[in-house]
Symmetry: C2
Subunit: 413 residues, 2 copies
């Protein structure tokens, strides 16, 4: 495990270095604005976790590893909610680099401040959830309200491409506007003779951004439960987005947005990797809802203010899939126990599909993978799931950079 992690850590430096080299003119100041906070984020997180773990244990914030039942370590107290460390470190480092960031990029002041607020709010909600175990309505309502500052300072486009199959709704064959178009123009504006089938969906776009931030915040949290999965998937997603951003910067496309995203995701990836060292199998700490909410909302924030929210969803395909699979349980159509993670079989030492009280399988992507690939050890299961995540990222890149759809994902629209 250790050499693999080290390799991963070195790999993450690549896009950052690539950015420093490809930016024209190569900008040492800009590169150091990312490299320095990232390095500090890694070191601070790595060395603070044992210290903060003691505080959490003293406050009785610990869990037993359900995946270790029947092994000698099943009664070990594992400190919980350690996501508070990368979260707080990230917030503090962003605060410290803020004066330099906004003096070099004044246009990013509002996105940066609103992002800081929204991320902190989710960190706060996550930690209080770990302490107080909120009901579901709180977990859906509060993210919606806390996304208001984020989207009220949104300055990007609110237009999307109308799919070819639906253009007849808005345009006459001659290219003029239909009666329907004219009637709804206060809410959805179609432009006559638009060569790209652009429609401005205005308020619906704000609704979409709000829903996006609720989705990403919760999607990591419901695709979790085995050692290293929450942090692992977040690192893969962050790595994919960073690669996409560096590619954009190299091509000179969506420069401000990509730069914003890199500045936020660099320290995030670094502190997540430091947390991963402790959360990887066998886990010495649990990350808690605190980390899941924190990482989820970061993706929403960079997707929205970085103006690549549709591309973002490509890298979240496993999370979307897991959400779709989970719907019958989330909406209580079939019974949903408090924990849906796979079951550890003492006799074989392997993880197996977990079942509901009515005998059916718990509907999660993890169980689907176990059903397809057969029972396996917990550390192998994490690796397989992360490989699935990497595979989907590859597919995402193929879709994003495949010629036909590049217009749909155009970040400069």
């Amino acid at each position: 495990m250790r050499p693999l992690l080290l390799l991963l850590h070195l790999l993450t430096l690549l896009p950052l270095v690539a950015y420093a080299v490809t930016s024209s003119p190569p900008s040492l100041l800009k590169a150091s604005l990312i490299l320095l906070p990232s390095t500090f984020a890694y070191l601070l997180t790595y060395f603070s976790i044992p210290f903060i773990s003691n505080f959490l244990l003293k406050a009785n914030m610990y869990g037993l590893d359900i995946g270790k039942r029947g092994t000698p370590t099943e009664h070990d107290k594992v400190p919980e909610a350690l996501g508070i460390v990368p979260g707080t470190v990230w917030i503090l480092l962003l605060c410290l680099s803020l004066p330099l960031l906004i003096s070099t990029h004044p246009s990013l002041t509002l996105p940066l401040l609103s992002s800081l607020f929204t991320v902190l709010f989710m960190l706060f909600l996550g930690f209080t959830d770990d302490v107080l175990e909120w009901p579901w309505r709180v977990k859906l309502l509060l993210p919606a309200i806390s996304s208001i500052p984020l989207i009220s300072v949104y300055e990007g486009s609110t237009s999307i491409l109308c799919p070819n199959q639906l253009t007849w709704i808005f345009w006459t064959p001659a290219g003029g506007l239909t009666n329907f178009s004219t009637a709804v123009s206060n809410f959805i504006t179609a432009y006559p003779n638009s060569p790209t089938n652009l429609i401005d969906i205005k308020y619906f776009y704000y609704l979409y951004m709000s829903l996006l931030s609720i989705f990403t915040t919760n999607s990591i949290n419901i695709y979790a439960g085995i050692n290293g999965l929450e942090v692992g998937q977040s690192c893969v997603i962050a790595g994919s987005i960073l690669t996409h951003n560096v590619w954009s910067l190299g091509k000179g496309v969506n420069v401000e947005g990509s730069w914003f995203s890199v500045a936020l995701l660099g320290p995030f990836l670094a502190s997540s990797l430091a947390l991963c060292c402790y959360n990887w199998y066998p886990a010495k700490v649990f990350v808690g809802d605190t980390y899941c909410y924190f990482s989820g909302v970061i993706f929403a924030v960079v997707g929205i203010h970085g103006h690549f929210s549709k591309t973002l969803l490509l890298f979240l395909m496993p999370q979307v899939l897991n959400f779709l699979i989970s719907i019958p349980q989330l909406f209580k159509i079939v019974p949903c126990p408090r924990h849906r993670l796979p079951r550890y079989v003492k006799e074989t030492g392997l993880m197996t599909v977990s079942r509901r009280e009515d005998g059916g399988m718990n509907l999660t992507l993890i169980n689907v993978v176990l059903k397809v690939c057969g029972d396996m050890k917990e550390e192998h299961l994490t690796m397989v799931l992360l490989m699935v995540q990497v595979g989907f990222s590859g597919l995402g890149f193929a879709i994003r950079y495949g010629g036909g759809s590049s217009l749909f994902f155009n970040e400069e629209l």
Copy 2:
């Protein structure tokens, strides 16, 4: 108690109504931007506290009332950290009114966003402190860093008046600049022939603002420990500031700053009063460090972005006094126990001066008042301390509006 509280609640509406009437032209939109969130803040806080108390008790977040030792209720579990309710309610209501606030006052966008962040950060720090009991270095370092976003978007003046006794340092008798003035002009700029002895202290002003926010955040927290005192003093301070703001609005002085302050303090005062209903003697809930940090930082935020930080300090005189009295214990010159609150005497039913292990009195303003006025019941002690707070507010107004010093406090400088 109840009729008194009700009277207080009605009194707080006065400045808001006064504002609606005095603003010219009388603005219903503006008034409703304060009255509506304030009303919601009161109701939401009032009705959420019993609900959230259950969550806190379930998570073992409760305390025993040290002031009730030896009475039948001494073993009652009192839920702790209820400051999370007014804090979260305030944040959510500000988020909800943000779009309207920034569309009517675009210049307040940056102050509002940065204030939301800094207040939320202190709420987060306060709650984690109630759960994890941070060491002192954390409680001083983190507020300093989290004030960076607040002060990096500060757009007011960084000049202060040089006291008459020190003008010889910067100006020659003829009104020109001294050699010293010229030498330090990169850090402190004095203007030649300045009629008002103005000096621009630049970075030192940012340092001052950062220190101010650390001070206010902690000053409420160290002047606490008996039922109703934390919330009570915060309400008196908030009421004093609101009165000052409405006076300024009526005179048309510092309009944007005063409006900013009223918009933030209205919902704060309302939610604090709702909390007071539960925290007043005999306390059914404790407010925790969560509330002390939350209320402390709100005062810093409105003082800084409302451009009346020096006037603010006038209303915090009892807190400054308590801090000065406490210095020997805070800096460990004499022993400092974890709790310094006065001692309940079972035989008399009165509160009395509490003593350190070495026999000396714990150095707090509460103990000084007890020493001067003699032992008294806990509810009377709270009332006396709040009367002291009101008295100092009166003194503050006298200094602020007394002719001689109005130049020093000039908010338009």
